[in-house]
Amino acid sequence: MILLEILLFPGFLFLFSLAFFTEWLDRKLVARLQNRYGPLHVGPKGILQPFADFVKLLSKEDITPARADRAPFVAMPILTLALAMTPLFCIPIDSLSALVSFEGDLIVVMFIMSLIALLVFIGAWVSTNRFGTIGGIRAGLQMFGYEVPLNIVMIGPAIAAGSLSVSGVVEWQSQNIWLILTQPLGFAILSLCLLAHLQRVPFDIPEAESEIVAGWLVEFSGRKLALLRLASNFELVLAASLMISLYLGGPTGLWHLSPFTYFIKLIICVFILSNLRALFARYRVDQLLSGTWKYLTPLALLQISMLKLLTW
């Protein structure tokens, strides 16, 4: 039974399909917002397009630059994918407790998210490309900006629920109230910081196509690029899942507890992220840093202190 859960639902197979579905949803939504069609041909409404892209990339030539540091360069995409998938097992999808849940798994999720950002920097650095290096430095700088407010607003729900476990926060919400209602500011900051974490417009600074070609991604091709793109899909799922679990009550609420509730909320969260992506121009990295330190971090602290005042 547990093996079935790990392999099929809500384990690997489900997560993979979810990752491809989220990419399709995101692409389609952004395309419609920008007055385009988006994926159209593979499968109904192009729903299989992300999977087709993945398979196509797997079959492409895979180049490792002569100057690159071979071992870390090859390992980086695999590690990134593994790290992007791992936290998803801590997210409750079909019941109040996740596949893996223990007191403190929220900290593990945060830690792994930081590791991914670090891996991006390392991957860019070992690729020894000039655009890649600039992209990697920008990714590192960007991390200094969004990481602090992101972690603060992820701790906010944990303080309210009195548990450092994602499942614990969901359980608390199922008995009390959705935390978005008591901490709306935290939810807004979380969405913004997650956009920065996902490197999406307006914070797609590290891969800024029109400035530095593809930034840290520039030397990755073929299988490596396929894995990295899949990893970024998983990160999108993770981001939406964190919004759901920490602020929107997880799989509970709309009907009684069911994965469909989670699914509907996922669509809403991806819509929020995609909508933000279609609205803005790209910031510069210095603007991002000053913005996060001037506004987001104090606001996140304010949210936490308000929480303390309310409970007291």
């Binding site: 917002l33 920008q34 007055n35 000039r130 417009v201 029109s210 400035e211 121009a281 510069r284 990295v285």
Partner: protein
């Protein structure tokens, strides 16, 4: 920290134009920039010397894909001056209408281009969608979306009928509404302002010294527009304002272009309403008397200059084109010094570059200051020798 060299182009996703900039950067700031041209020299001027005056109209049109009408118009004006032909009033009005329509479609295209450079994909998609409206109008009038084949020696090749006028009016209303929307987006949207205000400064004095032209010059607060200063075609009659902005940055360049869309719409409306009756073309003799002529036109990107020299035969003895981008390149290098890496694309986009129009081969001996224009064969020989010696 030593300067870090970043190549930008000739192949780069931000710049479809084949030009290379070598940037020396310290941290994220550009300290020095060296432009390198020569990736797309086509030798059009030389080809032109082997063709008749009429054939060259079509060649001139193909100098640039976007300001195709401006080049054709400029060339035909020069030839008409040589011939001493007076073209009918109706042809002048139709030329004005075409030139302004081309300006509108170019400015929409440019707006999308600039938006893409600052990472604003939605604005890019919207602006290019609306540009299609103007291309549709141009196709209805001329039969083609770009390279219209309208201007010819002695007038224009096609007429604008009354049924067309009604259709054009509806499309103009739509475009005007959209331009108002874009003006609102570009003046209010915070991310656009953050990326453009105070970026890529070109002071009025520098702009004049470095011979900037067109919207780039007008965004530095200098009132200079060939349409107002030289008054070719029907510009003497149609009322319009020369748009200038004083902030000297990329934002002003955006506002100048958006406001010019309104002025162009005004000119087209006036010209359509007051379109004189009569023929739209006169016959011109194929043989051009000896002499030389210069013609200037305000292309969408700035002042476009054509010089034609005739030796009395049916082919030009010399034809020289100075496209606006060439005039703007020195000021571009001035703007680029000191900007952030992230701002490079949007600053380059600010001059609306069209490198293919600007490529020339002139050899200058720095010691004797002698100069010489190479023929195609010389270039060929030089290229072969250069590759053999490597």
């Amino acid at each position: 920290m030593t300067a870090f060299q970043i190549p930008f182009g000739p192949q780069h996703p931000a710049l479809e134009e084949p030009i290379n900039f070598m940037f020396e950067v310290e941290e994220e700031r550009v300290v020095n920039v060296t432009p390198r041209l020569g990736y797309i020299h086509r030798g059009i001027e030389k080809i032109g010397e082997g063709r008749t005056y009429l054939q060259n109209v079509y060649l001139a049109e193909r100098i640039c894909g976007i300001c195709s009408f401006a080049h054709a118009l400029c060339y035909t004006q020069a030839v008409e001056e040589l011939l001493g032909v007076n073209i009918p009033e109706r042809a002048k009005f139709i030329r004005t209408i075409m030139a302004e329509m081309e300006r509108i479609q170019n400015h929409y295209l440019w707006l999308g281009f600039a938006a893409k450079e600052m990472g604003f994909e939605t604005l890019f998609m919207y602006a290019w969608r609306d540009r299609e409206t103007m291309l549709g109008v141009l196709e209805m009038i001329s039969g083609k979306r770009v390279n219209y084949g309208m201007s010819t020696v002695g007038g224009v090749r096609r007429d604008i009928t009354d049924t067309m006028k009604k259709d054009v009016e509806a499309k103009l209303n739509y475009l005007e509404k959209r331009a108002e929307y874009y003006r609102k987006v570009c003046t209010r949207e915070q991310t656009v302002l953050e990326r453009t205000v105070g970026v890529g400064i070109l002071r009025p004095r520098d702009a004049l010294n470095l011979c900037a032209v067109g919207p780039t010059l007008r965004a530095s607060g200098i009132r200079r527009d060939v349409r107002a200063d030289e008054r070719y075609a029907a510009y003497g009659e149609a009322p319009f304002k020369v748009i200038t902005y004083k902030n000297c940055d990329v934002a002003s360049r955006i506002y100048v272009r958006i406001d010019e869309i309104f002025e162009s719409i005004k000119i087209i409306r006036y010209a359509l309403k007051n379109l004189p009756d009569g023929p739209f073309r006169v016959r011109a003799p194929p043989r051009v008397p000896e002499g030389e002529a210069v013609s200037i036109v305000e292309a969408p990107r700035g002042e476009d200059l054509h010089y034609v020299k005739s030796d009395g035969s049916e082919k030009p003895a010399r034809w020289k084109v100075r496209a606006p981008t060439l005039a703007n390149l020195p000021s571009l290098c001035k703007m680029l010094a000191g900007v952030n890496i992230a701002d490079i694309p949007v600053v380059i986009a600010g001059i609306d570059p069209c490198i293919a129009c600007a490529e020339r081969v002139v050899l200058v001996d720095t010691k004797t200051r002698g100069r010489q224009v190479w023929t195609g064969e010389d270039l060929w020989r030089y290229a072969n020798e250069w590759y053999r010696s490597r």
